[in-house]
Subunit: 328 residues, 2 copies
DNA sequence: ACACCAGCTGCAACCGATTGCACACTGCCA
DNA sequence: TGGCAGTGTGCAATCGGTTGCAGCTGGTGT
């Protein structure tokens, strides 16, 4: 059985209150007493029970993280960032995976909210109203999604898409296909929007296909539709889709980048290893997780603080072998 | 503010004890009363505070999961399995990532152990003694590692390596390189052992290189040493290493499988997408996570149960394009 | 009519911490 | 010597649940 506060108190020859104070407000207790307590703590290997502390202070030192799919490298990176930042502040992280299910999302947040101080909600598929309903109860920080009145960190999708289009147009491409992701995805919407703006600006044309699942299989499924559009370049919802697309194109004997240039989004580790290596918009993933936790912790420390703090991260075009000049 | 037990009691017009019992031992309370309580719970959207319950019962409904690196797809799959199984039993999961650091492992388990009912420890890098020290305090189930007296689920590495060698020998290979993973990895040890046995049995020769990090970069670093051995086939610690190796071989103009056959271990999603697609030993990953949680929950339900329950999962050879007949 | 039992329900103690308040002690000044 | 501030400590209440025990009720057996 693990040692409790009272065990420490007994060993140190003081009251439980004193031990508690020695650990949480050291300035309040005499140096000599404090030393005795420290010795007792050491001897017993005591560690406070966070749950009990949480009951009183309303602060458990625990946050939740909800992601659509842990097997997607994008989300494991974000998770890793959250993890690392949380550990630095001695905060534990509950992780839950919704399997891309918007309903599960809402109910998971509900359940989690009783046991954590706040929640990092990553790429939620739920609608804005659901989101707002959730956040009335709970401290939530969004990642990869922006919503009025909810703090969060998201990516500048418009800018990213502009970079992609500028790159492709410079290579001579005029008709660009767009493989849209899940219909309920905020990123799908904003990337599509960014693309439309960008092609207008550069006098190119956009050929959207989809929606497709944000997976390798989704990319395989999209490939033939992309080819059918007659576009000479394609931007995909994310890298996983791009890599699936690459595979199907290869199977059909369509050469990348000679016959078709491919641009992904995310820059997951796999993308540099794909053949041809994938040109993509690199999104800072761990950083997003880190910032989200920062935001959440600040928010918790001072609840009345600017509730609508939002951070936007820029993506960065990484040119690799999957894009090339338009074949004349 | 979330509703408490007493709020429900007030609304239902009963005492807190009755509400508690209505929720945890329904048979003990009158059907009519139970219905009133249920109505009140519904109306208030009440959910019990697990932390408080945990204080009394010593059971928090929470388990911990410790993995070396969440960004490694092998571990995200295991995590996903753990996650899914835990959710089915209404158990929450703390996830912690050690960044491949054995010391962090021990301290993380220590910290976690105060807040969870038990811990799933995946591919620990710590030594056997440390492991046993940990488990004296805490309910721990191992994944991808076996240790005396600690329950867990691991893979039959000997058998997997035998399958790999049998496949390669059948293709005519007689000298097989082995890219070893981290020195402290249990898998490295057992896969190496299995390989040595297998090559003896099939009258082939083994050429070990390494140790290398279990990553893409590790594989790139290993490639040249593998080539230098003069082996015509290679088995790598895991798929990530194999894929890195593939990349470096490609860069050096060494054709796979004509000049060198490559076999990985794990069968992560990426492996099917590699070019050439990777022949590998498929390890059931989500299943391992699922079984580990099963084990842990059984253990918690009945602490005196066979403490040394161990499950061994078989890997299965998946033949793809990265292996072929030895070039005469 | 009385004892008894079973089935429900409530009282109150408890889990392991935190914290407002009161009290004890010291030292200093008048 | 008395008063007073300041520091350090302990008492007891509290958080949100659970649970042993006792009490109440109504029905049954004799």
């Amino acid at each position: 059985m693990a040692a409790t506060l009272r065990d420490v108190a007994r060993v140190a020859g003081v009251s439980a209150s004193t031990v508690s104070r020695a650990l949480t407000v050291p300035g309040m207790v005499n140096a000599a007493t404090r030393a005795r307590v420290a010795a007792a703590v050491e001897q017993l290997g005591y560690e406070p029970n966070r749950a009990a502390r949480g009951l009183i202070t309303g602060r458990t030192g625990t946050i939740g993280l909800v992601v659509p799919d842990l097997a997607n490298p994008f989300f494991s990176s974000v998770t890793k960032g959250v993890q690392a930042r949380a550990r630095r502040s001695d905060v534990a992280v509950f992780v839950a995976d919704t399997d891309e299910d918007a309903a599960a999302e809402v109910s998971l947040v509900r359940t989690l909210s009783k046991q954590v101080d706040g929640i990092v909600l990553c790429s939620p598929r739920a609608g804005d109203e659901d989101l707002r309903a959730i956040t009335s109860d709970t401290n939530v920080v969004l990642v990869n999604r922006a919503a009025d009145g909810i703090p969060g960190v998201s990516y500048d999708n418009e800018d990213g898409m502009r970079q992609a289009v500028a790159h492709l147009v410079a290579l001579g491409h005029r008709k660009i296909a767009w493989v849209a992701g899940p219909a309920t995805s905020w990123s799908t919407e904003h990337r599509g929007f960014g693309l439309r703006n960008a092609v207008d600006k550069y006098r190119a044309k956009l050929a959207p296909v989809g929606n497709f699942a944000p997976t390798y299989e989704g990319g395989m499924a999209a490939a033939d539709q992309v080819v059918a559009t007659g576009a000479t370049a394609v931007v995909t919802y994310n890298d996983l889709v791009a890599i699936g697309l690459l595979a199907r194109l290869h199977a059909r004997g369509i050469d990348v980048p000679r016959d078709l240039s491919v641009v992904g989004v995310d820059d997951i580790a796999m993308s540099g290893m794909a053949r041809p290596a994938l040109t993509t918009i690199r999104l800072p993933k761990q950083e997003a997780g880190r910032i989200a936790v920062d935001l959440l912790l600040t928010l918790l420390a001072d609840p009345d603080q600017a509730v609508d703090t939002r951070t936007t991260l820029r993506g960065e075009l990484v040119v690799r072998a999957s894009t090339g000049p338009k074949n004349p």
